[in-house]
């Protein structure tokens, strides 16, 4: 059980890193892009907008917590 826990922690730290909200935001943005792309609307702008928002939010949150 302890080994499983340490493997999970390693994978979490490796993939998710310091801010889990970045990974969650990427998944949501990809999902939103898929939904919009399935319509007749342009969807390319969603990821750049999401990246800008996520990055700004994440570094800003780091300065507030630090």
């Amino acid at each position: 059980m302890k080994r499983l826990e340490s493997v999970f922690r390693f994978v979490w730290e490796f993939v998710i890193g310091d801010d889990w909200r970045i990974a969650a935001g990427v998944v949501i943005a990809l999902g939103a892009s898929a939904v919009v792309a399935s319509t007749s609307l342009a969807a390319w702008w969603i990821l750049p907008l999401a990246v800008a928002g996520l990055l700004a939010f994440s570094v800003w949150a780091a300065t507030d917590s630090g």
Partner: protein, 256 residues
């Protein structure tokens, strides 16, 4: 070589060079203090394992349908890229300490000295520390090699760029015989973060069915725009921390 292949080679080379510099610090410290033979066997075993993981996972990924592959690769590159960029921005703006190879080297030296007597034959401490250090530093590079390489069906090119970076860092390490303090690690991490994030956006959007204006040429706009936005964040954070520090200094005499 196409623009995307050039981007792949540069990103993998920079990412691998940065991680190799950090791994070299660990290998040098343990080798100098304890046993070179055991340290090099440990480091070599980790490199072999990383090569096996790359050889096994890379071709497996390329069997995925192209759009699924692009969503997976785009998502992973975005998550990794944003984490690299976040750290590099915080370091460049002075909010997080820069990675200091000399300090890391001294810490590893002290730990190696405190680890007790050196085993005759294969020294377990040297082997394990070198193996673990190289494996952990290399694992992220393996993911970058696999994701970038699989998406463009150029795992060989990605692996060659990674091998070149490791070889170069190892050669310089042998010649200098000290941790590589002069390498601009944060600038390199900044560059890798920009590239991973840019390609992640490009492939992720294509994977879900979006079309970029201008097709592949859109990357020529995405990469500079990502770099400019990251630099803007650094400038804003520097001003913010600078003005916060000034306010604190201004308040101090009144409070005293």
């Amino acid at each position: 070589m196409s623009g995307q292949e050039f981007g792949l080679a540069v990103s993998v080379f920079l990412a691998c060079a940065v991680e190799a510099v950090e791994a070299l610090t660990i290998v040098l410290a343990v080798g100098v203090t304890r046993s070179w033979r055991s340290t090099l066997i440990g480091a070599g075993a980790a490199v072999v394992l990383l090569a096996v993981v790359t050889a096994a996972l890379g071709p497996a990924l390329t069997t995925l349908p192209i759009n699924v592959l692009r969503i997976v690769v785009g998502g992973l590159l975005l998550v990794f890229g944003l984490q690299w960029l976040r750290k590099a921005i915080l370091r460049a703006s002075g909010l997080k300490a820069l990675h200091d190879e000399a300090e890391a080297y001294q810490e590893e030296l002290a730990a190696a000295r405190e680890a007790g007597t050196v085993d005759t034959g294969l020294d377990a401490y040297s082997f394990v520390v070198a193996f673990k250090g190289v494996l952990l530093e290399g694992l992220e590079v393996v993911f970058i090699v696999i994701t970038f390489g699989a998406n463009q069906h150029r795992i060989g090119l990605a692996a060659a760029a990674a091998g070149l970076a490791v070889g170069l860092v190892a050669l310089v390490g042998v010649l200098v015989h000290a941790p590589l303090r002069q390498v601009p690690e944060n600038a390199m991490k900044f560059g890798v973060g920009v590239m991973l994030t840019s390609f992640g956006m490009f492939w992720g959007a294509e994977g879900v069915g979006a079309s970029w204006p201008g097709g592949d040429a859109a990357l020529l706009g995405i990469i500079p725009a990502t770099l400019a936005f990251a630099l803007l964040l650094v400038a804003v954070l520097r001003r913010r921390t600078g003005s916060a520090a000034n306010q604190a200094v201004a308040r101090t005499p009144a409070q005293a």
